[in-house]
Amino acid sequence: MKHLLKGIALGAALLSAQPAFSADRELLNTSYDIARELFAAYNEEFKDHWLEKTGETVEIKQSHAGSSKQAQAIIQGLKADVATFNQVTDINILHERGNLIPENWADRLPNNSSPYYSTMAFLVREGNPKNIQNWDDLVREDVDLVMPNPKTSGNARYTYLAALGYAQETYGDDQEKIDQFMSELLGNVKVFDSGGRGATTTFVERGIGDVLLTFESEVLNIADRFENGEYVPVTPEVSFLAEFPVTWIDEYVEQNGTEALAKEYLKHLYSEDAQRLLAGFNYRVHNETVKQENADRFPELKLKSIDEIAGGWDNAMETHFTSGGKLDQLQRRR
């Protein structure tokens, strides 16, 4: 029994012990599930920056899961200093349900507090055999699509809204034609996976479908991964502005005494070095110099915001994605 107690004490000591290089400061960043490598790289950049600026060393802890799950965890007491998400609605929840940040959080940093952004694009198979160039190619009868389910995945909601943006652009006020287009597009989807990575697996590993619809960053990632041209990225002319919002969490940075550190961690994302790093991970950025350096990888296109397409997120959720909403009606038409 004595040995057991000693063992427990030792284990607890080991777990609570700081690493050998014990840092002066600590910061916890909660993020979405597929951003681990991105922030692992950015953390190194920021550590140097903070050391240069203040002379302090800082250790940055990372937490990654689906951003809705992360938002819930923060509300229930995960004392994260900053949230770096891929869904605006998940940060809104921190204000609405947790009252942890002010309502105007998006105005506190440039570009709606979204230091980088992406859009929805297509991935097609080697040589683009079905000649997919734009959204209207996706409703052809010989084309099979793969995307996640808009009911469960933010990624898929973005694709839905991007297609809607294109339809509005093309058919103007003709609601019947817009509905027709949307229902044909949804009808061409061969597999609705539950999440973005699942859809990628279906397309790449299982070899199903002609077109994968997902974030441009993911599309470029996969194309890079298979260097022999096995997969070709296609960016349509019109798409959706997918913002990647960030915020510090006022309530917790106050408790943790990390306010200045957390703010600098997010502000530094807008610096030229960080923007270059983000572009390297296939995200679009705002910095003009970096933009020009990467002009060939990120073709110019018309990006429509959520306000233009659906009159804000609350409206979009209510009109399109609730049970019995537009999405359900369109799928029933077929």
Binding site: L15, R36, Q62, S63, I75, Q76, G77, L78
Partner: protein, 285 residues
């Protein structure tokens, strides 16, 4: 008589088909996936495997998982034994109900269990908001992980002991009491030797589940790498990162634990089924 009533297994070809079917299902559903785990883990060579296992965050995940099991197993050992003892040795109102309640963690999905703990002990929960005033945080740190693991694994020991203790009855213990032994002495010299193997069996099962639990832990962990990431969570994280080899390397550690568990379990079952040897040390009671 025997000629009239053919049993299903009497025909040799029926027996062969049934055995063959059972074997192939076992191979397809159990053996092949297990082999694939090790195959994938080693697919990029031995050095990649070891570098994945010796990665700073993987090592921390292993340490945390062992630590959680180290706390969970003794807690549930004491809890399960006490529960089995009280249910089988005493009569009291609500005894039947208690026996049923033991099974709740088996009946509830682990994710639901995690959510229950989160809603109770989280920042906005009944207990959590009260503890928060004293700056005590249980969820999203190791105490929360231990709590849900204890919950999920609590029935194993009691479930092993209750049928055995019911079957054995309490005559030996009553004799001990009549002869003037203290309660502790009765437990140590009579009850414990009788239930020893069932107890070890329960501990093995508790340990295996404690190390492998995913759902409940995932809800309360907060997924902080190098802090609250257990081995099963780490496997998922690596997989999400497209680090397939790393994910399988971590998974192979869990599979290794599972295989060790099976071996230990087989050994205990073998010991349990052996006829009781006369125990010389009992003569001195």
């Amino acid at each position: 008589m025997a000629a009239k009533h053919h049993r299903v297994g009497d025909q040799p070809w029926v027996r062969r088909i049934l055995v063959g079917l059972a074997l192939s299902i076992t191979v397809i559903l159990l053996v092949i996936p297990l082999v694939v785990i090790f195959y994938q883990a080693l697919s990029a060579g031995w050095s990649t495997f070891t570098s994945n296992v010796l990665d700073e965050y993987t090592l921390h995940a292993i340490g945390l998982t062992l630590f959680v099991a180290l706390l969970t197993v003794p807690l549930n050992l004491v809890f399960g034994t006490a529960l089995a003892w009280s249910v089988t040795r005493f009569r009291f109102p609500g005894r039947k109900l208690l026996t049923t309640l033991i099974d709740i963690p088996f009946a509830v999905s682990p994710v639901v269990a995690g959510l229950l703990y989160l809603l109770l002990y989280g920042r906005n929960g009944w207990v959590g908001s009260w503890l928060g005033q004293y700056d005590i945080q249980l969820m999203f740190s190791w105490p929360g992980i231990v709590m849900v693991t204890v919950f999920v694994t609590s029935p194993f020991v009691a479930r092993e002991l209750i049928p055995l203790m019911q079957q054995q009855g309490s005559e030996e213990e009553e004799a001990g009491v009549v002869l003037g032994a203290s309660g502790w002495r009765v437990f140590r010299k009579i009850t414990l030797p009788n239930i020893k193997w069932a107890l070890i069996y329960g501990v093995i099962l508790t340990n295996a589940r404690a190390m492998g639990e995913f759902g409940a832990v995932s809800v309360v962990s907060g997924n902080i790498r190098g802090q609250t990431n257990t081995l099963p969570l780490h496997v998922e994280l690596l997989y999400q990162d497209y680090n397939i080899v790393g994910a399988f390397a971590a998974a192979s550690l869990l599979a290794g634990i599972a295989i060790l568990t099976l071996i230990a379990k087989a050994f205990v079952e073998w010991r349990q089924s052996r006829p009781e040897q006369p125990a010389p040390e009992r003569g001195g009671v």
